[in-house]
Amino acid sequence: MLALRVAWRNLCFRPVLTVVTLALLGLAVAQATVVVLLARAFEAGLVRASRPFDLLVGAKGSPTQLLMSTVLLQEAPVGNLPLAYFEQLRHDPRVAYAVPLAMGDSAYGTPLLGVGPELLGLTDPATGQPYFALAQGRFAVHAFEAAAGAQAARHWQLGDTFQSHHGGLQEAPGEAHEAWYTIVGILAPSDTPWDRALFVPLTSYWEVHHEHDAAEQQITVALLRPRGVKEFYQLHQEINHDSVAQAVLTGQGMGRLFDMLGQGETVLRLTSWLALAMGAATVFLASYAVGAQRQRETAILRALGAGQWSVCIVGLAEALLTSLVGTVLGMATAHVTAWYIAWRVHDASAIVLRPTCVPAELGIASAVLLLAAAAGLLPAVQAYRQDVASNL
């Protein structure tokens, strides 16, 4: 208790040194924690975002592009597939549910998805709850009606009208299509990037692209739910085997994405450990910088009757108190930062990140305390072994 009191007083007595040490250590802890929090949150957020999509079928090309453009709405679509091909898939007995999707248009920066009302029938197999549900109005089923995703509804209200453009997400929008859409419904949040999209009937999509005949009509992606695991892999293999389309297992694609993100995360983790080591070095320097003062203080305490272990603990306690406060401040900063980043990511992509506490934080806190204990060890040993009389 005495040791803690003396250690605390000493830290308060050197406010500049203490604050600088706390700031450096806190920033190191914050960096390490943010990386861990966001890595987990991104993984969970992407898994959540891809739940409605089992098997994506699109034109031949990059599977990652198909995944990114469909699930995350982040890249240009790979190309189109004939509607007839989709109908063939829809009527395949191994397919339990199929949703056609047309992509490539936008309205003032908001992606426009041409989709049928089948979308509302896409349910979570575990709970039976639909992934996409209406919050207000009705779904866009008639020509040139539109429904806004939950996040798109921040800018679009029921009754609003708009014209669509070709492209406009990754490149400058093309000339506006002539037709005007009217918002007739708003969807409830689905925790997927599709919350920032506008949904219009597939027929209207074809209409503005002058695809009037069935032979001309195209879709961009087919969202398939096979009847079972066997059918799932069969379809995947067969589709990829022919020359028309490619099929992407969303889970597998996300795994590849995590692997890519993981490489960046590894670099960030290494940097974080370096930062933590530097933070511990700062604690050591702060302890060592006051060596002469500590020697005298140790001698005074011993002269007053404090034991060798008591003065030894003072040295350790200063390092541990600094690291404890630094860790708490750093973790608080990390959580605030992670929530801010999550909010910005949600704003930009509608991916819901929930950077909640993770067990790895305990690991970081333990590592910091261990490093700090190591940093405080030398001053502590010096205090233990110090000659009293010569320092009075």
């Binding site: 007083r9 005298r296 305490l301 011993r302 002269a303 007053l304 034991g307 060798q308 009293v388 009389a389």
Partner: protein
């Protein structure tokens, strides 16, 4: 039957190693010394005669190179580690020449610290005792100031208050009036002597101030160690 002396010193010699050499020099020689309860002793001698070394040995902070020191019949040579620390906290009150106050603590906390280490009385009682001592020494309005915010004289009084805090059996004061004005000197000295004469403690004061010597029961000359010192026990 006379009471046994509180402090008994036999053939005390303290040598220190010469820095950077293998030779040693003798810092203190004291063939014998006995101090009884209720006795105030002035220890005099020129600088370097070993006054502070003697006090450090009596406080158990230094071990003699030769000879023996007994306090209340207990040889300091047999006290080690925790026992010696505990003994020092309860038995010795030491006002250092350079005050040795903790810079991060207020005057009150510096005095309380000695009480925390030397007594088991409740915290409130310890604080009350520390306040009373600082009040007595004229520091009532300065007790929440840190040493760096106090004058040299005020720091010296805080050091004296801290030495008195545990009502120790042995009070050691190294030049306790060197940095104070005449009035404060009287306050400090009277307070130390009162502790000796009323509570029958032992007081040893190292001083260069010859005008103070008449206030003590006895004077020990460290520059004349063979001079026999009368023992009033």
């Amino acid at each position: 039957m006379p009471a046994p002396p509180v402090i008994v010193v036999h053939d005390l010699i303290k040598r220190f190693r010469v820095p950077g050499a293998t030779t040693t020099f003798v810092a203190l020689t004291l063939p014998s010394l006995e101090v009884c309860g209720g006795e105030a002793v002035a220890v005099v001698g020129p600088s370097g005669s070993g006054k502070t070394t003697l006090f450090h040995i009596l406080a158990g902070l230094l071990s003699p190179s030769q000879g023996e020191v007994l306090i209340h019949g207990v040889s300091l040579g047999v006290l080690h580690g925790k026992d010696r620390d505990r003994w020092r906290a309860r038995t010795i009150g030491y006002a250092f020449q350079s005050f040795n106050l903790l810079a991060a603590f207020s005057a009150l906390e510096n005095v309380c610290l000695a009480l925390d280490l030397g007594t088991t009385v409740p915290r409130a009682a310890r604080r009350a005792r520390a306040r009373a001592l600082l009040d007595e020494l004229g520091l009532g309005s300065r007790m929440h100031h840190r040493p760096g915010e106090l004058s040299t004289g005020e720091q010296q009084r805080v050091a004296v208050a801290r030495a008195l805090a545990n009502a120790p059996e042995v009070l050691l004061a190294d030049e306790p009036t060197a940095s104070v004005d005449p009035e404060t000197r009287e306050v400090v000295l009277s307070r130390l002597l009162r502790e000796v004469h009323i509570s029958k403690k032992v007081l040893l004061v190292a001083t260069h101030d010859r005008s103070l010597l008449t206030r003590f029961d006895r004077v020990v000359h460290l520059d004349q160690p063979d001079l026999p010192a009368a023992t009033p026990c």
